[in-house]
C-alpha cells in the first residue's frame, strides 16, 4: 500500500526508499520503489526480516519476465487506478504467448503475488481450453503414458468433448 504524503511529487523524493531487483538469469537490474516491490510477499518477508541487501537477487526469473512483474506491481501500487484501468492493464500484461505466461506464473508463484498468479493462470486456462489434448501435453511437458488402446477408450468415454477435434 502506498502511504505517501500529498507533497511527495514536489519533493525530489529523498525519502522514498527504493530496492534493486536483479535477475540472476541475465543479471538485469531493476530499481523500484519499495512500496511497489513489497507487493511481493516473498520480498516483503525478506525486507521485514532484514534479509534484503541493497540488491535483491531473483533467481530463475529472466529480466524480460521481471519487467512484466514490476509493471504489474506498479499498476497495482497506484492508489488512483480504477478497477477498470487495472483490468485493462492486466489484460495487456498477460497478452503473451503461452510459454511467456508459464514463466510469468512461475515468477508470480515464486514472488508470491496472488493477483498476478490468478490473472496469469486464468489467461493460460483460456488459452488452452480449446486446444487438442496433444498440444496441452506438449505445453506442460506431460508424457503420454497411455497405450493407444487405453487412450482410445478414455476418449470414447467423453466423445462429445472431442467434437471438432481430430
Amino acid at each position: 500500500m502506498a502511504s505517501a504524503p500529498e507533497n511527495e511529487k514536489n519533493a525530489s523524493a529523498p525519502e522514498k526508499k527504493t530496492l534493486t531487483l536483479k535477475s540472476m538469469i541475465n543479471n538485469e537490474e531493476f530499481v523500484v520503489d519499495e512500496h511497489v516491490a513489497l507487493q511481493s510477499v516473498t520480498i516483503k518477508n525478506m525486507v521485514d526480516s532484514d534479509c534484503a541487501g541493497d540488491v535483491i537477487p531473483v533467481p530463475t526469473i529472466s529480466g524480460e519476465i521481471l519487467a512484466l512483474v514490476i509493471e504489474y506491481c506498479k499498476n497495482h501500487a497506484n492508489p488512483s487506478a480504477s478497477e477498470d484501468d487495472l483490468k485493462k492493464a492486466d489484460a495487456g500484461i498477460v497478452a503473451k504467448d503461452i510459454y511467456t505466461l508459464i514463466d510469468l506464473v512461475l515468477a508470480a508463484n515464486f514472488l508470491d503475488i496472488k493477483g498476478l498468479l490468478e490473472v496469469t493462470s486464468q489467461k493460460i486456462a483460456d488459452s488452452i481450453k480449446d486446444l487438442p489434448h496433444q498440444d496441452v501435453r506438449e505445453i506442460f511437458g506431460v508424457e503420454n503414458d497411455y497405450t493407444p488402446e487405453e487412450e482410445a477408450a478414455v476418449r470414447a468415454e467423453h466423445d462429445w468433448a472431442f467434437e471438432g477435434f481430430p
Partner: protein
Amino acid sequence: MEKKRTRRATDGDGGDGRDGGGVSAEEELPHDLVVEEVLTRLPGKSLMRFKSVSKLWCSIIDDTRFCQAHRAHSRSCPTLLLFTMCSGLGGVTDVVNGLFCLYRGNRVWICSISADQGSECEILTLGKDESWRTIHDPSIDIWKQRVYIHEDGDENEESQYISSPRGWIRRDEDSLHQFRGHVALIPCAFVHGRCNLLGNLPTGEMLMTGTSEEEEEEEEEEINSNPIVPPLYSYDPAKGMFAKHVNNLPSSLASIRKDTKKFRIYYYEENITPLKHLLGVDESSGRKTSA
C-alpha cells in the same frame, strides 16, 4: 492426490514455442501449479477432453478434492444454460449442483451438465456452445434406483403453506417457483395474456416473459420489440414479506420469446464430479439417498 513434478524432456523441439521469448527461464510449470492454478479454471468440457493427456491427469480430474476445487472456481463464474425439449420428453427440473432431472411418464433420468452423462436431450450453453449439442444415453436410471433429488429445504413442501400477499387473488394459473432460496409466487394477473417463467439469472433474478392481449395480435410484426417482462414478487420467509423485483430481459434472449414454452434458462455452477460419486451409488444394494 499424487504429488509429482513433471519436467519437459530435453528433446529437440523444446524451445520451438518460444518465439521472441528472449532469455526465458526455460522452466516447466510444476505439476501442483498446473493442477491448482490452471486445471481448476478450465471448463468441464475441456477437462473431459484432457483426461486423455495422461493417466495422472485422468485420475486427478476424477479426484474428489480436485472436483471440489474446480467447483469453487466455477462458482465465481457461473454459466447460463438454455434447454430445449426434444419431442417425447416430459420435462426437466431445475439445475441443482450441476445436475438436473429429465422426466417422462414415471421414468426419471438424472443428468450431469459438465460431464455430459445422462439422458438424451439437446442443450446449448450460452457463451460456450456454437450450436445445440446432444446429451446421450442415460447412465443411471434414477427411477429404478429410487434416488430422489430434493432442492434445499423443500423436502416436505406439501405440508407447508404460505399465504398470498395482501390484495392478491389467487388464481389457478398462479405458480410457485424457487427463487434465491425462497419460494416465489408468480401471479398470472400481472399480464393480461401469457406469462412464462424462463428461469433464474446469475444476478439472482428470475427471468420471465409475458405478452399482453394487444401485443399478441401484433406479435408477427414485432419480433424485435422488447417483450413485456412482468414485475416479480419473491417471498422472503425470514422477513415474512414479499419484495418486488424488476427484470430486464437480455436482448440476446429476445428471439426465444416466440416459443417460450420450449425453453428454460438455468443458472448453474459446473460440477465435474462423476455421477456415481455424487450419488454415492452403492452397486450392491442399488439404493442410496441423494445429497
